[in-house]
Amino acid sequence: MSILVNKDTKVIVQGFTGKEGTFHAEQCLAYGTKIVGGVTPNKGGQEHLGLPVFNTVNDAVKNTGATVSMIFVPPAFVGDAVMEAADAGIELAVVITEGAPVRDMQMAKAYATKKGMKTIGPNCPGIITAEECKIGIMPGNIFKKGNIGLISKSGTLTYEGANQVCKEGFGISTAVGIGGDPIIGLSYKQLLPMFEADPETKAIVMIGEIGGDLEIQAAAFIKENITKPVVAFIAGQTAPKGKRMGHAGAIVSGSAGTAAEKMEALKAAGVTVVVSPAEIGKAVKEALSK
């Protein structure tokens, strides 16, 4: 078991024939992901990486039965691509592209929600079910199969966390990079109950950062609904106010969205909160030995 994706998930790639799309589709195929085709307007009918290319997501879904789309289109076209996927009946869109305008994501997410499509990202490493299915740009080899679910706003902290968990002798069930933009698709609050319900997942690592209040919402949710141990790290304890720290959404505005308030809320909800990402692995080990 796992959440959202597994070895049977059929995936298409939007922005399939571009440089990034091609490189990462190849990596995903090598990992074992069932990529069944891709979409690039005006290249329909061609073959790429031995797979069919379609002009529209609609065509791709009809011909391949894909339920998930991995999106690599340039930032200005992300909103359009997400809405196209939702319109074509895709169940989950994984948006890797960084730098999509916020206004576009407002519209796209509202439409996706209306159509019942889940979205991961944008500006994220994607999702991986260890040793089964990788939909994204993460290095697959560091994710050993196991019982820890991972949710992270940051790409490299996802790798850092997964690597430590595996070095402690554990492994990953599914890891989801949710992205650090001001408006994102699935967040902690939607993913936590999926991990809670997944019999394979024994503990959950959540990695957050400054800005917004998703971690605060997660804390309230964990308190009421999550029985599995949760280990959390919030990046940006030393970040100055009013400065954007790399991610578009990582900014303390006024006095809202600080690491301190998020860490407090999570602690109050019974979560093991570590002050350095270097402690994630050890904390997971301790949480599971209780």
Partner: protein, 391 residues
């Protein structure tokens, strides 16, 4: 990206959002000519910098004669204005905005920002104009009215009614004027991919008209590509030169006041590295995300920018190699040290794909001030030690 008040007002004017008339000046003589052109007997001379609190800092003054316009403009132009938002170093005033005097009866607050929890813009209004909105939110939150506008339906009549009744405006003519004002401001926000608009104060004049006496706008950097007119308003002198230089090379840099320079791939890990240094008893000198493609060129640029800061006593390079293999990054770092004179200890932690080979490469290179580390904790600890001058 942020713009000046006078530029925000130019955008407002395009959309019919009422503002007092004004003209921008670069010199005291221009200021006088502008005041003459505007006519009247009272003018306001306003320093143009990207920070709030200009009035309190002495950057906004009332002039009752053309001579006074000249005197005040000469005083304000070239002054270093310190406000609660500039930091103690202040900001140099290079332009003044000459505006006609206004008949102020009431001061309100009106703003539009993205509500991240609701995932849509909200219009914020308050009767407490002229005060810092953060203070109003803290002391008297009930005096702030928030109306969320779903972009799918846009600004409707009911949004306007929620605003005016919330503000206690009962005169039907004034209600109509303020609703029209807010509706146009919402359009300014959406059309231009603004991140925030703040009008503080929005004034009601003796004759019951509403005017934007101030104007502050920030934009979504990701959307600037489709707004060349707004991109053209960028004032580079308002931006940190090091942050700007870094961004030209695809690096994301923020300077801090500590001693350990940080070079990391990924924003989250970069913040996590700063936090770990702090946890181990050191102080980070900067945030620096070299992005997904750490190579010799980006690493060399990173060293160069970090070393401009004289407080830096050690550098911690923390890279989690994913798709990019660590052995390649190790070679990149060695190459970078040939391009830039790195005179402080550099602690290098490479983890991920081919990490063991990478550490071998660094060891074999035998460069005395490059110290390999095996993981994040080890690297941070070594960096803190090195910054303190310990081995």
């Amino acid at each position: 990206m942020n713009i000046h008040e006078y530029q925000a007002k130019q955008i407002f004017a395009k959309y019919g959002v009422p503002t007092p008339r004004g003209i921008i000046a670069n010199t005291a003589d221009e200021a006088v000519a502008n005041a003459k052109e505007l006519g009247g007997t009272v003018w306001v001379v306003k320093a143009q910098i990207h920070a709030g609190g200009r009035g309190l800092g002495g950057g906004v003054k009332l002039a009752r004669s053309l001579d006074e316009v000249k005197t005040l403009a000469s005083e304000i132009l070239g002054m270093t204005l310190v406000t609660h938002q500039t930091g103690p170093e202040g900001k140099l005033v290079q332009k003044v905005y000459i505006e006609e005097g206004a008949d102020i009866k009431d001061e309100l607050y009106l703003g539009v920002v993205l509500d991240r929890a609701k995932e849509m813009p909200i219009i914020m209004a308050s009767t407490e104009g002229g005060m810092a909105i953060e203070d109003v939110a803290h002391d008297t939150p009930e005096k702030i009215i928030k109306v969320a506008v779903d972009p799918a339906i846009g600004f409707q009549g009911f949004h306007g009614r929620e605003l005016v009744f919330g503000l206690g405006i009962t005169n039907p003519d004034e209600q109509k004027k303020l609703i029209s004002f807010a509706s146009k401001l919402y359009k300014v926000y959406m059309d231009n991919d603004a991140e925030m608009i703040e009008i503080n104060p929005l004034i009601k004049t003796g004759s019951g008209d509403f005017l934007a006496l101030d104007g502050k706008m920030g934009f979504d950097d990701s959307a600037l590509g489709r707004h060349p007119d707004i991109e053209a308003m960028r004032d580079l002198s308002e931006e940190d030169p090091d942050e700007r230089e870094a961004s030209e090379y695809g690096l994301s840099y923020v300077s801090l006041d500590g001693e350990i320079g940080c070079m990391v791939n990924g924003a989250g890990l970069a913040m996590g590295t700063m936090d770990t240094i702090n946890y181990m008893g050191g102080t980070p000198a900067n945030f620096l995300d070299v992005g997904g493609k750490a190579n010799a060129e980006t690493v060399a640029k990173g060293f160069e920018i970090i070393l401009k800061n004289p407080n830096v006593k050690a550098i911690f390079v923390n890279i989690f190699g994913g798709i990019v293999r660590c052995d390649r990054i190790a070679n990149g770092i060695l190459e970078a040290t040939k391009l830039v004179d790195v005179h402080v200890p550099v602690i290098v932690r490479l983890d991920g794909t081919n990490a063991i080979e990478a550490i071998e490469i660094l060891r074999n290179a035998n460069i005395p001030n490059i110290i390999p580390a095996v993981d994040l904790a080890d690297g941070a600890a070594k960096a803190v030690k090195a910054a303190k001058g310990e081995k």
